[in-house]
């Protein structure tokens, strides 16, 4: 047990290996999910599983679509300018 505890603590003292590849942008997905969950937890008048999950999914999708559209617009602008 002490070994396992030490291993768990040690894993928080050295950074993980994450390259600067386009795939590293996928790290935004869990963060967007966390934002959607907490925001809806504070905003819904009553929390029921079905409504909560639906609202979170809609907000999560909206944020991702907005990010994708923004990225596309920026790509087009960069292509036009350069």
């Amino acid at each position: 047990m002490p070994t396992q505890t030490a291993f768990i603590i040690a894993s928080f003292t050295a950074p993980q290996q994450i390259g600067t590849s386009p795939y590293s942008l996928l790290w935004l997905l869990p963060l967007v999910a966390a934002i959607a969950v907490v925001y809806k937890a504070t905003k819904l008048p009553t929390i029921t599983a079905g409504v909560f999950l639906k609202e979170v999914a809609v907000l999560f999708g909206s944020i991702i679509v907005f990010i994708a559209v923004t990225a596309l617009v920026l790509c087009v602008l960069a292509w036009l300018i350069t």
Partner: protein, 133 residues
């Protein structure tokens, strides 16, 4: 449940805010909003720990990255303890792990700030409902 009356209005709001800062979701918990409290606690703790796991505790840097630290400290007083450990620069972290770790831990802190404000507002509404103001 926390009883909010005219006499203990300000102390009650302070208790709610302080509880929410000490433990994410505790502000809602003492207002008997248990489902919200559990959702908030689990989500914020997982987001914060993910940031620490990816970037190590070195992402909490009160000296070299103090603007991020201001957001991170909203998670819990535990961040102050971690900041004390890392202030000497013994856990260096660079590049993408540093960015992701800082963003995750800071967003978790800002989400907790949102929850603290929401819990205080709920406490205020409870008082308005009970006193009819």
């Amino acid at each position: 449940m926390l009883r909010i009356s005219k006499e203990n209005y300000i102390p009650s709001l302070l208790i709610v805010a302080l509880s929410g800062w000490l433990v994410p979701g505790a502000g809602h918990f003492i207002l008997e909003e248990k489902k919200r409290a559990i959702i908030i606690f689990v989500t914020i703790v997982i987001t914060f720990l993910t940031g620490l796991y990816v970037g190590s505790i070195g992402v909490i840097d009160p000296v070299g990255a103090w603007p991020w630290y201001l957001a991170q400290i909203m998670n819990s007083p535990a961040v102050v303890v971690i900041g004390h450990l890392t202030a000497a620069g013994t856990y260096p972290v660079y590049g993408r792990p540093n960015e992701i770790g800082q963003i995750y831990t800071s967003i978790a802190g800002l989400l907790n700030l949102l929850c603290i404000i929401n819990a205080v507002y709920l406490a205020h509404l409870r008082r308005a409902e009970t006193t009819g103001e």
